[in-house]
């Protein structure tokens, strides 16, 4: 294989774009989607439609940040990191405590500081988890690591939900407690009215921050040496060892980046909804984001984005019709998509060779 061919094959593997082929299929699918949207507009009006679209994009942005972490970690070590939703929770709580601290001490630019610090702390936690729980299982059966991930997830949820009054000293400073906490208003809420659609600055922040982070991520993955090494590790681990790439460091860095994105999502989630229910709050957003990642084709960054937006928008539309319906629609869409495209929207279906 020449150098050119090798770099091409690396560029074509997971963690990169796949070229759209078979455009007729996409046209057909988009016609069906447009038909449903048309029905929605007919029954609820254009204003409600646009409002729900904006809400959906906002929710989709939050899902996208979580799903990117899922997809990166899956892409590099083929592990469904079930603890990702709990790292999302951890990020949200860290920014709660930091935010309260900064508000008391009158810091300027507090939101950005909170966000970056929370991302850094969560990345540290994520890397620690990887070192302790997943690294020893790297060359063991794949499902053992999966169960460990479930164990870590249960541990994080239940440990941080312990109530601080009943446990001994050093630990009661760490745990969050099971109580409901109001998230501090790090950004004053301003609502704008654009032709009958209400958009507040938090919505704009959610969407723009997601876009910025995704562009940053794409830059890291595509243009830097670390990104190249990441793609190489995702492609073939043994070859990387021969090329002098330190696999352990690269996997650690991937975990750091993925979990810091989850922390950013957690902070935005808490800021958007203004509350932290309990340390169990990461379960469902985590699961939805995982489904979004699978919907787009797991291991594929643009796929995760696309899946998340499809998920967020369809969920808000369905919820605006009926709340129970909104819960189930994500799963129905997933099953329908996977029946027609078994490797997700942008994933490539690889045939097994003998």
């Amino acid at each position: 294989m020449t150098k050119k061919q090798l770099s091409d094959s690396i560029n074509n593997n997971i963690l990169t774009y796949n070229k759209l082929t078979n455009w007729k299929k996409y046209v057909f699918i988009s016609v069906i989607i447009l038909f449903f949207l048309f029905l929605y507009i007919l029954s609820f009006g254009i204003k409600a439609f646009l409002q729900q679209l904006v809400n959906g994009i906002q929710l989709g942005s939050i899902y996208a940040l979580i799903a990117l972490g899922y997809t990166m970690i899956y892409g590099i070590i083929r592990l469904i990191n079930f603890a990702h939703g709990d790292l999302f929770m951890f990020g949200a709580y860290i920014s709660y405590f930091l935010g309260n601290y900064f508000i008391v001490h009158n810091f300027k630019f507090s939101f950005i500081t909170v966000l970056i610090l929370s991302m850094a702390f969560t990345a540290l936690l994520g890397m620690t988890i990887e070192k302790i729980a997943y690294k020893p299982l790297r060359f063991k059966p794949r499902l053992a690591a999966l169960i460990t991930a479930l164990g870590v997830s249960l541990f994080l949820e239940n440990f941080f939900a312990l109530s601080p009054e009943n446990i001994p000293f050093p630990l009661n400073k760490i745990v969050f407690g099971p109580r409901f906490l109001p998230f501090p208003a790090l950004i004053a809420d301003k609502t704008y009215n654009l032709a009958g659609i209400s958009i507040n600055n938090i919505k704009i922040l959610d969407i723009t921050l997601t876009i910025i982070l995704v562009i940053l991520l794409q830059y890291i993955v595509k243009k830097t040496m670390i990104g190249k090494a990441m793609r190489a590790v995702a492609f073939h681990k043994d070859a990387c060892l021969m090329m002098g790439i330190n696999i352990n460091n690269i996997i650690s860095i991937t975990f750091g980046i993925g979990t810091s994105l989850a922390a950013a999502a957690g902070t935005l989630f808490a800021l958007t909804y203004g509350q932290l229910q309990s340390p169990y709050l990461g379960i469902w957003p985590g699961l939805k984001a995982f489904i979004a990642a699978v919907l787009g084709g797991i291991g594929n960054i643009p796929g995760a984005m696309l899946g998340s937006y499809v998920m967020g928008i369809s969920e808000t539309f369905a919820t605006s019709i009926n709340s129970n319906f909104g819960y189930g629609i994500a799963f129905v869409i997933l099953i329908v998509v996977l029946i027609f495209k078994p490797a997700g929207l942008l994933g490539k279906f690889t045939k097994e060779k003998v």
């Binding site: 169960i147 699978v294 319906f325 819960y327 099953i335 029946i339």
Partner: protein, 354 residues
């Protein structure tokens, strides 16, 4: 005479198994105070935990058929359980009032309702087995997960469904569906799951699973696990066997769900969420994939462990210690406690072939 000889042979071959099961049963009944030798030690609380342990054995052994022996990856087992629970509760609580019946008709109705629950779950298993034609690994996993959640959200939407049925003029059906009262949970289920019945059914399910696995069909399933392409080359209809595995597994999950409903006497769709499926996955992998013994012991042990931690006053910590132990177990023994090994009475003796 031939039949008697056959029975004697069977007893001679499996006397260990029969003796163990009968002795365990007698021991529990003695401790329970049904056979008055010693004062009653097991309260109703302990008996309920034991019954849950037995139900978890049924569930885990049936999940083992899909995940452990056929090598597919299903994480939506609670969905089948939900179908079974609601179907059997529908027969005993809504359609017939089992609480007012005499003993034997009640028992017959209960067994009938369990079988119906199992059958309907098996049909669902068949339907969810169909996409396995195309999907592999994690994609299949996510579809089964989605299936479980869809079942749950359909039950939760029972009010809306009944309202819809009334609108289109099917008042009779709408009233029965309204009685399921999804979001509020179905209560007043008669306590029909007696300990002996649960015990007998769990033993039966273990025996049937064992016989299935060591039959021709079971061998076919095992070959799919080992190498799907090779199995197909050997002339095994892989799709058919995957669907058989899914349906059989779903049948037992449905029966387990029916028993569960009649132990707890109150079912709510949230009882059968993703978190419940995760529990069974944990029991399965902790015990060792592809080992019935492991499933039995892990399901019993891990059901009792959290309750044991509660009894010895570790109430606060029990859900922290449990995942920690799980992580440590997976790090030390990635194949589970038993790996592939079995108790001798769960493996049929090889017959000498002349």
């Amino acid at each position: 005479m031939k039949i008697i000889k056959k029975i004697i042979n069977l007893i001679r071959e499996y006397y260990k198994f029969i003796l163990t099961t009968v002795l365990i049963y007698l021991l529990i009944e003695i401790l329970n105070g049904t056979i008055p030798i010693v004062p009653r030690l097991l309260t109703r609380y302990y008996m309920q935990i034991l019954m849950f342990a037995l139900i978890n054995i049924i569930m885990t052994v049936s999940l083992n058929l899909i995940n452990g022996f056929t090598g597919q990856f299903s994480i939506g087992h609670a969905g089948f359980m939900c179908i079974g629970a609601y179907t059997s509760a529908y027969f005993t609580t809504i359609l017939f009032k089992a609480a007012k019946m005499a003993y034997f008709p009640q028992l017959a109705l209960f067994i009938f309702s369990l079988i119906m629950g199992g059958l309907i779950a098996a049909i669902a298993g068949y339907l969810i087995g169909l996409p396995t034609l195309k999907l592999k690994g994690d994609y299949l996993a996510i579809v089964t997960l989605a299936f479980g959640e869809i079942v749950r959200s359909i039950v939760r939407a029972s009010d809306e469904i009944s309202a819809f049925l009334r609108q289109i003029g099917l008042v009779q059906y709408s009233e029965t569906i309204a009685k399921i009262s999804g979001p509020r949970g179905l209560s007043t289920i008669p306590a029909l799951s007696k300990f002996w019945l649960v015990y007998v059914i769990s033993i039966l399910s273990v025996i049937i699973m064992r016989n299935f696995i060591y039959s021709t069909h079971g061998r076919a399933c095992l070959s799919i696990r080992e190498n799907e392409v090779a199995a197909e080359t050997m002339g095994i209809n892989t799709t058919r066997y995957k669907i058989i595995a899914f349906s059989l597994s779903a049948f037992f999950a449905g029966v387990g769900g029916g028993l569960f409903a009649h132990v707890l006497r109150f079912i709510h769709p949230d009882n059968f969420s993703f978190i419940k499926s995760i529990d069974y996955l944990i029991y399965l992998y902790a015990g060792g994939m592809g080992s019935i013994t492991g499933s039995i012991l892990a399901a019993t042990g891990l059901t009792i462990l959290p309750e044991f931690l509660r009894v010895i006053n570790f109430q606060q910590w029990r859900m922290v210690i449990y995942p920690l132990l799980l992580v440590i177990l997976m790090l030390r023994k990635p194949d589970g406690i038993f790996g592939n090994r079995e108790f001798s009475f769960l493996v049929p003796k090889r017959k000498e072939v002349n």
